[in-house]
Amino acid sequence: MDFFIQQIIQGIAMGSLYGLIAIGYVLIYNAWGVLNFAQGDMVMIGAFAILVTHIFWGLPIIPAFVVAIIICAIVGYFVELTSFRPLINSSNTRRLIATIGVGIFLRNLVRVIFGADPYPFPSIFGNTPVKIGELTIIPQNIWNTVIGFVLVFLLTVFLNNTRLGKSMRATAQDREAARLMGINVKQSMSLTFIIASVLGGFAGMLISPVYFVIPTLGTSLGNKGFSSALLGGITSNPGSMIGGITLGILEATSTNFSTSIQASVAYIVLFIVLIFLPNGLLGKKESRKV
């Protein structure tokens, strides 16, 4: 039973990171109308950014995080400028392909610079397990969950209570109307993209002690991120978090049945959700327009 609870805690911790990645997808999907297949690679960028600032440059952890976040923001802005903005009026198909192309670009650029070998990353929060009653919890699991939730909370506050956040929401809802209201649509969309990239990158930074840091880090994490996004209905940020945690728990507990199934859990769940709940766990049904 304790083992099972521990698995759930593990699942929640991983799931909050999936949730962070998912929110990146959702923000971009709502503002730009396209699923950003390069979002997973932003996670990878985040992991490499913290590797560079903390290990290579030797910055203490907090400044390392700050600089890594700035790097993610710059890369995100670069991606937006080169692969999203020029295609703003193009068909979904073409925009989707561009995101695939930019993902290949980033992944391989990193590989050219850092090589294909995995880099280990030390645990940020120490390795001494915390004992709560009968449970032994790795600090990382607690921190990842806490940070994940804090970030979602901050994002929600930002979107709902600041002028900038409100313009971002208005832009995502109806670009034309937002323009008429005098909102700087271009700026809002860029900002959305940057925030989404930073959230993805942040997930990568938190994940780096769990996985090795390699250029292909983002591929499966990206897929899990948008599985979570879809699970949450792709329209809401809290939904993504719930989607991520659901997926995290399912993955963590699936090892009880078969270890080889763990890798497929995300996809099997995704497939089933798409078929039976095409609008996600929380999404609203769209009525059809003729």
Binding site: T82, N92, F105, S260, Y267
Partner: protein, 333 residues
């Protein structure tokens, strides 16, 4: 129309055919011929994907799964059950087609992104199956010793011979796809891509035709997979990872969505080019990613659109610099 235009128009298909038929004789070495054969197999796969995505508008990002199903089916049938190669190749297409129903039937209601994601999930599940169903697929070890095609007492073991098998099948599938476009079935598919509400209004049973589109395109994809299995004579899961689906998508888009010549050029081009760029080392994949983005931005109709334009100029249908109306199955905006 000048004399040159007339001569060009009358001879273009024969020139193309002559080049295709003599190719093995002037390709410098076996290695390049192998890459070219692989490119043609990917051209078939791109053409298959085009039936689903270019014609019907069903955007698949897990298409490599059907290529894999075809390759594994033919490999297993020939190595473990002793089926003759031609029959196994045909059954590879059939099984790929049948398995497409497990994707198409439950996802019929899904649209756009949701559908794309379902295909991605399907592709991953298939990959895990190739990887973990060791009793049948041999897992990571892969299936070795797949026999080469033998037909009428001739072995098609060498690339210079197998090349012609691929060529014949490619030409056959091009013809079938062309016929399809200008038919009742093809128009039903195109109408779904264009406007599913209007498609229903003219009496198209939309789910049924989506399914038909799936059956046809995955049949061809399965055949392509079988060709691959009997050319390389070894299959293993990593040939069918989802990144490969993205590669096929890129071939389709770089070639031009919905364009048959584009699918050929995209399939062969994106297979052969990275090989020629090998001297660049890892940079080539960076350039590859960047060029996909650039082509999407600056050549919305892809290389196929460019080829058609040159073709129109050479045959006098269009003067230089003037964009005339485009062939109808092109473009999707």
């Amino acid at each position: 129309m000048t004399l040159f235009n007339k001569v060009y128009k009358a001879t273009r298909i024969w020139i193309l055919l002559a080049v295709a038929l003599t190719l093995p004789y002037w390709v410098p070495n076996n290695y390049y011929l192998q890459i070219f054969c692989l490119g043609m197999i990917f051209a078939i796969l791109t053409l298959s994907l085009n039936i689903l995505s270019g014609m019907t508008g069903l955007f698949s990002v897990g298409f490599i799964a059907f290529f894999g199903i075809g390759a594994y089916t033919s490999a297993i049938l020939t190595t473990k059950l002793g089926f003759p190669v031609p029959l196994a190749m045909f059954l590879a297409g059939v099984l790929s087609s049948i398995l497409s129903l497990t994707l198409s039937l439950p996802t019929m209601r899904l649209k756009g992104m949701y559908f794309a994601v379902a295909t991605l999930a399907f592709g991953e599940i298939m990959y895990q199956l190739f990887l973990n169903w060791t009793a049948v697929t041999e897992g990571t070890k892969g299936i070795k010793g797949i026999p080469a095609l033998e037909l009428f007492g001739t072995s098609f073991r060498s690339y210079s011979k197998f090349y012609y098998v691929i060529l014949v099948i490619l030409i056959l599938i091009i013809m079938l796809a062309r016929n399809l476009i200008s038919s009742r079935t093809g128009r039903a598919m195109l109408s779904i891509r264009e406007n599913d509400i209007a498609a229903e209004a003219v009496g198209v049973n939309v789910p049924q035709y989506k399914m038909i589109s799936f059956l046809i395109s995955t049949f061809f994809a399965g055949i392509a997979g079988a060709l691959y299995a009997h050319m390389v004579r070894y299959v293993s899961p990593e040939s069918f990872v989802n990144a490969e689906s993205a590669a096929v998508l890129a071939m389709m888009v770089v070639g031009g969505i919905g364009s048959i010549p584009g699918a050929i050029v995209g399939g062969i081009g994106l297979t052969v080019l990275p090989e020629f760029m090998r001297f660049l080392g890892n940079i080539r994949m960076v350039l590859y990613g960047a060029s996909i983005v650039l082509i999407v931005i600056f050549a919305p109709r892809g290389l196929g659109g460019l080829i058609e334009r040159i073709d129109n100029i050479l045959s006098g249908k269009q003067s230089l610099g003037v964009q005339k109306k485009q062939q109808h199955i092109e473009g999707e905006e």
